[in-house]
């Protein structure tokens, strides 16, 4: 009896120790439904086999719902998510509020210096990296080489807005249902205002001057919006005021757009022969400029960040480091091909000989490199962000401004009226916010 008791205790202790050694930590990852993210979910076995003590739970949400849910969770310290997918708009704001865990201590082999400088700049606050980019994107011109050739024209690699207008005019054939240019018209800070804010940069316009005074009453904004309206009214598809990314993608894939200026990530869709009827005719060019030193392209990076309320920070960091590593890129290339590798985050990817063969690789890199979120405009501004202003009030204000511009595109008001309303409502909101 005296002997069995210690034996029993030892075995219980051994079992408890073994359980402790294999105790599973679950990390919950909030993400959006896009091709690269879904691909990652399919490849996580590589991560879990290397980290058997970490279990992954995925929550896939619609983009706007995700934004609202993670904001709510992070502000109320709900602790529902350990890793969240956020963009370059949220990182500077949340990082400054200490809502995110700094990722400066990720392992050396993760190679922070390999991240493209423009992207890294957008995810850094006061010298701290607060999110790891999963894929980066800019915007560029995607056009129909066959239609340009038929019109006896050639698209320059770095066109101006005048050249874009001429190309749009030449490719338009409304009787055949071909419209020279398709652009975003749907209201929203991430919809028409992403495009128009980036376009405005190339016209020397800006959201605010250095004293945070709204600038919609300037000639630069009038020139931006008038050019946009002229292009869309003369050469755009009908009902453009409700077209966003997916609607334009659909039109382009069906051969109804001569040209489309939008996210670089669209390149892989429009050149995919399974879905696109014009896959073999697509050419790429940099987003247009006006000779002022800034092009009309944006910069965005879907990135992985860890909320400060997470109770599994170490495990979450392991996952973030894996998902955004060079090894993950190689894993995708091996299983899905180089064209499916998440683009736009690492210098080493663009130095890879295999990746250089992907038709849109070089143009994507050039587009990303030509956007600078820390210095986005011709004249100086007090904010960061190319197609957005990284302040919490921006999403609400820009969506309202977007509605005014969308209404002008729908013919419900003039450009002048839209600009006046935009100026008034932005001034009011900024004053209420204490600027």
């Amino acid at each position: 009896m005296n002997l069995t008791m210690p034996l029993r205790l030892t075995s219980i202790a051994a079992i408890l120790a073994a359980n402790a050694a294999f105790a599973e930590t679950t990390i919950t990852i909030a993400t959006v439904n896009n091709g690269d993210m879904i691909r990652m979910q399919g490849l996580t076995e590589d991560f879990t086999s290397k980290n058997p003590d970490i279990k992954l739970e995925w929550v896939t949400l619609e983009e706007n719902v995700l934004r609202q849910r993670v904001t709510q969770d992070i502000a109320a310290k709900g602790g529902q998510f350990d890793v969240m997918t956020i963009g370059t708009y949220e990182v500077p704001i949340w990082g400054a509020q200490d809502w995110l865990v700094s990722l400066d201590d990720l392992p050396a082999e993760w190679d922070k210096d390999d991240i493209l400088p423009a992207i890294r700049g957008g995810l850094t606050v006061d010298g701290n990296l607060y999110a790891a980019p999963f894929y980066g994107e800019s915007s560029m011109v995607m056009y129909r080489k066959d239609l340009m050739a038929n019109a006896g024209m050639e698209m320059p690699e770095a066109p101006t807005w005048d050249e874009i207008a001429k190309a749009a005019e030449a490719m338009t054939d409304k009787e055949k249902g071909i419209y020279g240019i398709c652009l975003r018209g749907k209201a929203g800070w991430g919809e028409n205002m992403a495009f128009l804010s980036a376009m405005a940069n190339s016209y020397g316009a800006r959201w605010f001057d250095e004293d945070w005074k709204p600038q919609f009453d300037t000639e630069e904004w009038a020139a931006t919006l008038n050019t946009y309206m002229d292009l869309m009214n003369n050469y755009g598809p009908p009902g453009a005021s409700t077209n966003g990314f997916n609607e334009n993608l659909s039109l382009f894939q069906q051969g109804k757009c001569g040209m489309w200026i939008d996210a670089t990530v669209a390149a892989s869709f429009v050149t995919n022969p399974t879905d696109s009827t014009v896959a073999e005719h697509v050419g790429f060019a940099l987003a247009p400029d006006n000779g002022l030193g800034k092009r009309g392209n944006w910069l965005w990076a879907w990135s992985l960040a860890i909320p400060a309320g997470s109770d599994a920070t170490d495990e979450a960091k392991k996952f973030v480091a894996w998902a955004t590593s060079k090894e993950y890129t190689a894993l995708v290339a091996e299983s899905e091909g180089w064209a499916n590798v998440p683009p736009g985050t690492r210098t080493s990817l663009y130095e890879n000989e295999e990746y250089k063969k992907v038709p849109f690789a070089e143009m994507t890199l050039n587009s990303i490199n030509s956007a600078d979120p820390t210095n986005p405009t011709v004249d100086p501004v007090p904010y960061t962000g190319v197609q957005f202003v990284a302040i919490p009030e921006f999403a609400g204000i820009a969506t309202q401004v977007g509605q005014e511009f969308s209404a002008a595109l729908a013919g419900q008001q003039s450009v002048q009226e839209a600009l006046e309303k935009a100026q008034a409502l932005t001034a009011e909101e900024m004053e209420a916010a204490g600027y």
């Binding site: 849910r69 529902q80 997916n246 993608l249 399974t274």
Partner: protein
């Protein structure tokens, strides 16, 4: 005396009824058709109605990518649980209001209904904070209770309206025959009220099944029902209509089948009290 209806009139009525029915059902039909298309066909302009290459690819992708069984079980648990819990509270409440009304019964009924007039988002943050404190975030129990509370006014109102239709004299007769309160409710009232309770149950099950605000806001990975499953197939960049339609069809199929088999009770539940 019933009005005589000519054959021609009957025909016109029938065609009109079918047309309206088809119009209402069309979005669901279109969703089901789209779920069998490829992504390219789903966005084709002009739209293709039936002449396309039918494919099950979207269902395969959705089943491979998501744990459908878990979402389905969560939906059944939350919708079923909240409806049953609601009935347990609402039956005695409606009984007392219908048969033993007080001076304030009408006011209480109106007050209960007034809670439905507040936009749900108005109480999102308080409820979210309470859930954090009580550890109920992303739990089926928490969601069941919230959805029960949301639907409770409707359950009480439906049952109250139905109980009011039952003649009080029958209950009085039972009492005169020496029935106790328990046997009066169990053997006299309940058999007469079963159709009303059944239609209330069905309607609330459907309402709870389709509830998308609270289910999206209070769940993450563990307790997410089919509404969250559908939402996960919307995409900001990329074509998704066919896969979203497949997910929607899979989410509405159980409730559509349930509705089909119980349409008599449903129609009765929705129209009782209309003929007096």
């Amino acid at each position: 005396m019933a009005r005589s209806v000519t054959t021609q009139r009957k025909l016109v009525n029938t065609i009109a009824a079918w047309s309206i029915g088809f119009l209402i059902f069309f979005p669901i039909l279109w969703t089901i058709l789209t779920s069998f298309k490829t992504e390219a066909t789903a966005i084709a302009d002009p739209p293709v109605f039936l002449a396309f290459n039918w494919t099950l690819e979207n269902y395969e992708v959705v089943l491979e990518r998501s744990n459908y069984a878990r979402f389905l079980w969560n939906s059944i648990f939350i919708a079923g649980g909240s409806t049953l819990l609601g009935l347990i509270i609402a039956i005695p409440a409606a009984w007392s209001m219908a048969f033993v009304p007080s001076r304030r019964t009408k006011d209480i009924l109106l007050w209960m209904l007034s809670t439905k007039m507040l936009p749900a988002v108005g109480v999102l943050y308080p409820i979210y904070l309470i859930f954090i404190k009580m550890g109920l975030l992303d739990s089926r129990i928490g969601l069941t209770v919230v959805i029960m509370l949301i639907n409770l006014p409707i359950i009480v109102w439906m049952l109250y309206t139905y109980f009011r239709e039952i003649p009080g004299e029958i209950l009085e007769a039972a009492r005169m025959d020496g029935a106790t309160l328990k046997s009066e409710i169990l053997y006299v009232l309940t058999p007469m009220a079963v159709p009303g309770i059944a239609s209330t149950l069905l309607l609330n099950f459907i309402l709870a099944w389709n509830e998308a605000f609270w289910t999206l806001n209070l769940t993450a990975a563990k307790a997410a029902p089919l509404t969250a499953f559908i939402a996960s197939y919307s995409s900001p960049e990329g074509l998704f209509y066919a896969k979203l339609s497949a997910a929607s069809t899979m989410a509405i199929a159980p409730i559509l089948i349930l509705g089909w088999f119980s349409q008599k009770q449903l129609v009765r539940g929705l129209t009782f009290g209309a003929v007096k």
